[in-house]
């Protein structure tokens, strides 16, 4: 197996085991959308658009007591090492489902009966952890669209590479590492909204990875807030609370 951590304890991209990749979040990047965002997390580049609340088509999907949330996670054909055929794969269908279920608890859908809210995630470049970066960006786009929310949703993966628990796995660590565990939380309500595990973790490693991922989510949450503050309150006011 490939060595993913060197003798100095550094990972292949030079990070420590508990270090996040560089993160950039922008708000309101697409003019036509009701809300939008762009995220870079390492080499992940994802753009998210929110349309809604709007009329539901097809009509039979409408719910009398709340809005229908629909999510589409899609990877551009050029986003991966080998070309990804444009039609949705089984993986993308599953990820669209778990992203929807991760975002829905934070949204006050009951305020918008008989409507639909569409969240479109386009992965322009994938670098491991694209569903997490996508969730983080989607929550920002939903806030930008002015959808009533109970809390933000923020996601990060922890996992295991070369025998050590690591945070925010990159593409190589995701593929060659022993385990990948993406989670999403509502950081103020302290609730888990996404949990997946792929790979072997002992009960002790699980505890460590789980706590590490929650802490990382809190760091990323600060970046989400800053991105929204930058857009809505102007850059000068950031930090003056």
């Amino acid at each position: 197996m490939k060595e993913l951590i060197d003798e100095k304890g550094l990972r292949i991209d030079g990070r420590r085991v508990d270090e996040l990749r560089p993160l950039k979040i922008e708000v309101g990047v697409l003019k036509n959308a009701d809300g939008s965002s762009y995220i870079e997390m390492g080499k992940n580049k994802i753009v998210v658009a929110v349309y809604g609340p709007k009329e539901v088509h097809p009509k039979h999907q409408a719910l009398p007591d709340r809005s229908v949330l629909r999510c589409r996670y899609h990877m551009a054909p050029f986003s991966t090492d080998t070309r990804k055929p444009p039609q949705p794969s089984r993986r993308e269908i599953e990820i669209s489902k778990v992203i929807r279920e991760a975002l829905e608890p934070a949204l006050m859908l009951e305020e918008y009966p008989r409507t639909a809210i569409d969240v479109y995630l386009e992965v322009l470049q994938a670098d491991g952890g694209s569903r997490c970066a996508g969730i983080t960006a989607s929550a920002v786009a939903l806030a930008d669209a002015g959808i009533s929310m109970r809390d933000m949703v923020v996601a990060c993966a922890a996992g295991k590479a070369s025998g050590q628990v690591v945070i925010d796995l990159n593409d190589v660590e995701d593929k060659e590492g022993e385990a990948d565990m993406p989670i999403a939380i509502m950081p103020n309500l302290n609730q888990l909204t996404l949990f997946q595990l792929d790979g072997i973790l002992t009960p002790e490693e699980f505890e460590k990875a789980f706590d590490m991922a929650i802490n990382a989510c809190r760091t990323i949450y600060d970046a989400q807030r800053k991105a929204l503050m930058d857009k809505y309150f102007g850059k000068a006011e950031v930090g003056e609370e």
Binding site: I93, V98, E101, N190, T193, I200
Partner: protein
């Protein structure tokens, strides 16, 4: 995976009733919160398949068949065999199932089951290469859901592992001309251990194992954990648009550990019984 059609008023009433019942540690079918329904596993039910299993968890019934064929390896794993898990919720399985390509629930079902088998390294795929880079053995597990009454995930997982563990195939070899040949010798798949899936539902503040359709219709969130023979977690998935507290997740891992051990005995019992003929 909820096969019960939801009506808003009835759903809310049922939920209130269910939460009240669960607060007294009771369930509609008189089970304890941590009790599975009776599990029955029958293997070798389809002669034409390399391996097969019919599993019942209460009224949920699924049948899995394994077909082993010669195939091309994936480009990123040229020296490993293939594992493909597919599930179909047949229209005969409930009044609400419809024919057509698998929907997102069926895709999630197959992918979570696949993840448990794959990540636990149940099948030693490196022993399934025939001509590395060119030809490998492909293990197809197709699971048909025959009757839905909740917890399709666990039922499908048990059927998958039981059918794989009891699979038999001719020994394949490459002759001096580089041709793939079958010998008369019949061998099992290279198996390392049995991963066991444990699915729990949160309804209100209660965490219960093995939810029925009625319970799934009102559940807030679902969590599935798969454990390998060493008691390590090897796959997991939260489902449904609800949340879990961080402590509930940790509690779920402890519950899963205990339950997985019990159920592994049931699965292994059936495998041993089948091996003895």
């Amino acid at each position: 995976m909820s096969a019960v059609k939801k009506s808003i008023v009835v759903e809310q009433l049922r939920k209130v009733q269910m939460i009240e019942l669960l607060s007294k540690e009771k369930r509609l079918d008189n089970r304890g919160l941590m009790d599975f329904r009776p599990i029955t596993i029958e293997t070798g039910v389809i002669e034409k398949a390399n391996g097969s299993a019919r599993v019942q968890v209460g009224n949920t019934q699924v049948i899995a068949g394994v077909k082993i064929e010669i195939g091309d390896p994936f480009p990123d794993t040229p020296d490993k065999g293939l594992l493909v898990v597919n599930t179909e919720v047949l229209p005969l399985a409930s009044a609400y199932a419809e024919p057509g390509p698998p929907d997102e629930d069926a895709i999630e079902l197959a992918r979570v089951v696949d993840r448990g088998v794959r990540e636990s390294h149940m099948i030693d795929l490196s022993k399934l290469a025939l001509i590395p880079g060119k030809k490998v053995l492909a293990v197809f597990v197709d699971v048909n859901v025959l009757n839905t009454d909740g917890n399709l995930l666990d039922a499908t997982s048990y059927a998958t592992v039981a059918s794989i563990a009891t699979s038999k195939m001719p020994r394949y070899y490459v002759d001096e001309n580089g041709q793939i040949k079958q010998s008369d010798e019949i061998i099992p798949l290279p198996i390392n251990g049995i991963p066991v899936s444990v699915t729990m539902a949160r309804i209100g503040d209660a965490l219960i194992v093995d939810p029925t359709s009625e319970e799934e219709a009102v559940m807030d969130a679902r969590i599935t954990l798969v454990l390998d023979e060493d008691g390590n977690l090897c796959a997991g998935q939260k489902g449904q648009p609800g949340t879990l507290t961080f402590d509930q997740v940790k509690l779920a891992t402890n519950i899963a550990k205990v339950k997985a051990k019990e159920i592994r005995e049931i699965i292994k019992g059936e495998i041993t019984k089948y091996a003895k003929g």
